[in-house]
Symmetry: C2
Subunit: 662 residues, 2 copies
């Protein structure tokens, strides 16, 4: 028998709720959390329910009344206005006053005698007065006395139908037999950049303005204004640490490097130090801090790459042999994916007995760089380290610096990518680079934005990375680069490119069938001619400006795909939460041929119908078209511009020969 069998309200199927409340959902500052639940009880009594929420650690709950949506489903909403974590749960109770009031109305309609009912009402109000204090209580006692007085019944009815009385009584309900949902759910609240961000990746060592010299943080600093002009707000640097010499890789991943070959920045650690040190040729710790600060002044956050692996020369290998696996022949176990061997990389042995010390040391790496002002980390291959390690590191670091953003660089199976996101990663790389067809993009984006996934995984779309030059880019030339750029920047509230390879349309693979770049910057220093006339930099600037100016593009939840008669033309829209700003995109996925298509727009998503007159205003070309209804035609030539990024302007009025659109 339960502790009080009179708790009759049931609260079930609360949404959002991830894995029975094991994981928090994610929001950014200023967003809302809409909570729905099944709330009901036995019998015919009416219920009341509140959504409780608080910033985690606060002793006080704030309560917001929930409203019934019909069929026992209820809804409530709250906003999140501080970084860190919020908690929410639901309370519900059988509301005897509300029930009495509903029944009273039915009795009045049926013309039944009301005397006894008025006494019942008086008692309910009296009990409400006991729960209230001061003036409201006095007032309630007065109402209760009035219901018992000689006053004509009609006047009593007027009294209890008064909305002021009802509102006052609703503030002091009898919740003694109420139920509280048996889980407290959580929301992680991140800074706005966690949701809406444009990333630019570059190799600092290739940043020297003149060829033949190893680039430095100072050179990167000099490039900041150009990056800011392109409109990026995150500058992501591959690992900046000393690079191992033993088993160093030469150009194009060869095993026979020359003495001056710089090696891969991911072969971390040398005599100069490990994960907390800076590669001497890049500059000093002061130079790095200057870069971070200077970038921040220009609206750019520097993101560091954290790759938990060691070159054979890493100090850890000597100082902490217990953190590595040793082969029967006494050698340290290098990274393998049999039959492939990566002898320049030693992975940590996360199953070692000293795992606690290892975890503490790895945490201290994040703490070190956070102490240097870094607030964004791109984590390399997190899926090859224990999930629990990330849960713990991210949770701990965000307690101290709740504004920190972690990007998960995992390209692996869906469950694993989702688990990393649930465990705390703020943003995630995706399969975007391999979704190049209309069907593939629709299906994948629907999964990311229209299912529970959108509560915990924030996609970051990258058309290229130093590891990924996909077939579409290899073969599609400039039109392909523009198409993928527009898709990434408008489908994803967060996206990024690896440059200058991207804006300079670098598209030669190491060999046919490979996704690796020929002459990859991973193994050699490159010099880029940033002033080439065919650079996509101006288009990128334009796209990032469109992104900033249009709130529709700041989130993914309201992404809608529209019908298109031609599969080569993908059409979709995004709207701002208030519906005032709508961006409608049509992209030609065929990088070789002009394609035309009838678009069948989803009127409900756009607030349009078959008779609507509106204007679509291309934010790239500045062309404007006046459209009517939901079926319209577009034609896109990949050699001029393979995409329309329309802003939808509603018809305001017609005057003489002019039409005005908002």
């Amino acid at each position: 028998m339960q502790s009080d069998g009179r708790n009759r309200a049931v609260i079930e199927s609360v949404k959002p709720e991830l894995d029975s409340g094991r994981w928090p959902i994610k929001r950014v500052l200023g967003e809302r959390v809409t909570v729905t639940a099944d709330i009901f009880s036995d019998g015919h009594d009416l219920l009341s329910a509140v959504l409780r929420h608080r910033h985690k650690g606060s002793p006080h709950w704030t309560e917001i009344a929930m409203e019934p949506l019909g069929n026992d489903r209820w809804r409530g909403q709250f906003g999140v206005h501080a970084l860190g974590r919020y908690e929410y749960t639901i309370c519900a109770w059988v509301d005897h006053f509300k029930t009495w009031h509903r029944d009273l109305k039915r009795r009045i309609e049926a013309g039944q005698p009301l005397e006894v009912e008025m006494e019942i009402g008086a008692r309910l109000i009296e009990r409400c007065a006991e729960r209230a204090e001061g003036h409201p209580a006095d007032q309630m006692l007065a109402w209760s006395q009035a219901l018992r007085s000689e006053m004509p019944v009609g006047e009593k009815v007027d009294l209890v139908m008064d909305s002021y009385l009802l509102m006052m009584l609703a503030r002091h309900p009898d919740r003694s037999l109420g139920s509280t949902y048996d889980r407290t759910l959580e929301v992680v609240v991140d800074p706005p950049r966690a949701r809406f961000s444009a990333w630019y990746e570059l190799f600092p060592r290739s940043a020297a303005p003149e060829p033949g010299r190893h680039g430095t943080f100072r050179d990167v600093e000099a490039r900041l204004p150009a990056i800011a002009r392109m409109g990026f707000d995150v500058l992501y640097l591959p690992p900046i640490h000393p690079i191992g010499r033993k088993e160093r890789k030469g150009p194009n991943n060869t095993l026979t490097p020359g003495p001056d070959d710089p090696g891969s920045p991911w072969a971390i650690g040398g005599p100069e130090g490990g994960h907390k040190a800076i590669h001497p040729e890049l500059g000093t710790a002061e130079d790095f801090q200057r870069l971070v600060e200077n970038a921040r002044e220009q609206g750019i956050e520097v993101a560091l790459d954290i790759a938990f692996q060691c070159s054979p020369d890493h100090p850890y290998v000597r100082e902490h042999p217990e953190w590595f696996q040793h082969r029967p022949d006494g050698s340290v176990q290098y990274a393998e994916n049999p039959p492939k061997k990566y002898q320049d990389i030693y992975p940590f042995d996360f199953q070692c007995a000293a795992w606690r010390e290892l975890w503490e040391e790895l945490y201290s790496i994040f703490e070190h760089w956070a102490g240097q002002g870094v607030r964004i980390f791109r984590v390399d291959n997190p899926h090859t380290k224990p999930f629990a390690l990330w849960d713990w590191i991210i949770g701990r670091l965000k307690q101290r610096w709740p504004e920190t953003i972690f990007l998960s660089e995992a390209f692996t199976r869906p469950r694993v990518m989702y688990r990393l996101a649930k465990g705390g990663f703020t943003q995630s790389y995706t399969y975007f680079a391999w979704r190049n067809s209309s069907h593939g993009l629709r299906e994948y984006l629907t999964e990311l934005t229209r299912t529970e996934v959108c509560e915990f995984l924030r996609p970051n779309f990258w058309p290229n990375t130093p590891d990924i030059l996909n077939e579409y880019l290899q073969h599609g030339g400039r039109p392909a680069f523009i198409t993928r750029l527009v898709l990434a920047a408008t489908l994803g509230a967060s996206y990024g490119i690896y440059g200058p390879a991207y804006e300079l349309i670098e598209n030669t693979p190491r060999e046919p069938g490979s996704e690796e770049y020929l002459g990859s910057e991973k193994f050699e220093i490159r010099h880029w001619d940033l002033n080439r006339p065919d650079s996509l930099a101006p288009l990128i600037s334009q796209l990032n400006r469109i992104r900033r100016e249009n709130p529709a593009l700041h989130a993914n939840e309201r992404l809608v795909f529209h019908n298109s008669s031609n599969d080569q033309i993908l059409c979709y829209s995004k709207s701002s939460e208030d519906g005032a700003n709508i961006i409608l995109v049509a992209v030609n996925l065929d990088p070789w041929n002009t394609q035309g298509s009838w678009l069948g727009l989803d009127g409900a998503a756009l607030g349009l119908d078959d008779h609507s007159r509106y204007q679509v205003h291309d934010q790239l070309s500045q062309e404007r078209y006046n459209w009517t209804g939901l079926i319209n035609y577009v034609q896109l030539n990949p050699y001029t511009l393979p995409a329309h990024v329309f802003r939808l302007r509603r018809h305001l009025r017609s005057e003489h020969d002019f039409e005005y659109f908002l």
Copy 2:
């Protein structure tokens, strides 16, 4: 930091699992539980997983290996062979031997040196020997020594590829860093009748063979052979308790009964006693027990109606005034649904201070009748009593009598009906009586049989009840009665009728627009001419025989709707679990007109394709049709027989002019 950060296996999204494991799923003796889950870890290591299960209370778990289905989804299965509750959960671990073995194969394919690998394998096998005991351990040590010996590498490879070795090693895996799913889930195991049952409801007081006399249990006993002949296996009796006199209702629910009017059996309690007493005119406790035993001998279980409410004359009202609500004028609060009043019924006040004593007393009512041999209870309006009361009563009673079946008579909102089923009701009344269109039936049955609902709610379909004479039956005459009977008996593994009103096609409502019967047995004794030539009894016998003979009709999970070109013809099939028995039903929903339709059969569900030759053998008419492919035509005349209940017979062979079908 967690207790051991080296536990790397993740177990998520386990199915079936109801509300995070709060509620058990349901099975009957001999059924299987198929469990699936996402199981994965970081990195590229292989995992192993087992499904653990045990009868609740047993100290020992039985483990069954789970198999990967791809994309990190795994599956395991166990059977339930004892009444009561089973528990199940999942264990998974990173399997280093399995990983080493997979990698070894890749190394062999790539022609890599294997010496060091053989030493690693020897160590893994050595550790396995430490976990094993006796002979297997000795054998493993021998294998491990062989891998270290001078034996040629090729022979060592042969050794570790040996399936006997692999099987032995798999029996002693290293689970020291394994994970166990953090919830233990439960299954309630009921007797087969919980899933497959045919109910017959009758009023014992109308069971006298001659008119004008109050029927008795002895009269009901005399009717048992006829009920058994019709093929029913549950005989459900409305309340058999003394009936109150105060506020007694007269015929047709009138407020002015004559002195001889018997009143409603649901107005429970009089001077002769309450819920544990028997209405004297029905007979004695001995008569009742004789009926129960005699029925059981004929394969019929007697189901009692438990209605937790009191007439004003119930002993509880006098002895336990604290269990009732009192109005300000001192009277006991009668049942109401304002403006409707039910002054012959006093509901219990479940919010009263003495709720614990009330619960104990109500439990003792079930215990009393279970003590008299009753194993099936039909519970009246459970949705107007606290859910927690039912959770507690049913759980407690089934601990002592796990074979007990509870049928929930709730016709209310879906969430409430589902909550009652989750809390323990074995079977549930449904909206079937109000689903008379093709679309309505398909949609509703899909919800009941193709969603999570099928794990906890077992529908029991009733075309009529003493409270429900739907419009379709009122207007559709005999064809409507046949159609609804066929639908109930073939769509539902459990169904029931209220007779003899049903088989005698009683269809006059009290007034137009009402679902109440004119001259309802709820308020008066009726005399039925059971030998009327138009009785549906022979058809009912035939349908129940078809149900028994065809395992396809014993469950609901494999219900499939097929396309039909005419909405008036509903077509569906059910298959036995092994697929050997398939019943294909086509029903004309139009009780007035002959209807024909092209059926578009779902080949996958039936194991047929466009070229299949097969026979459909109508189990009602005994007609046989030889069909080819998936598109076939049927025509049904409501005035002969509005339904085909085909058994599908596969083509065996052709010989001379004959074709043989299985």
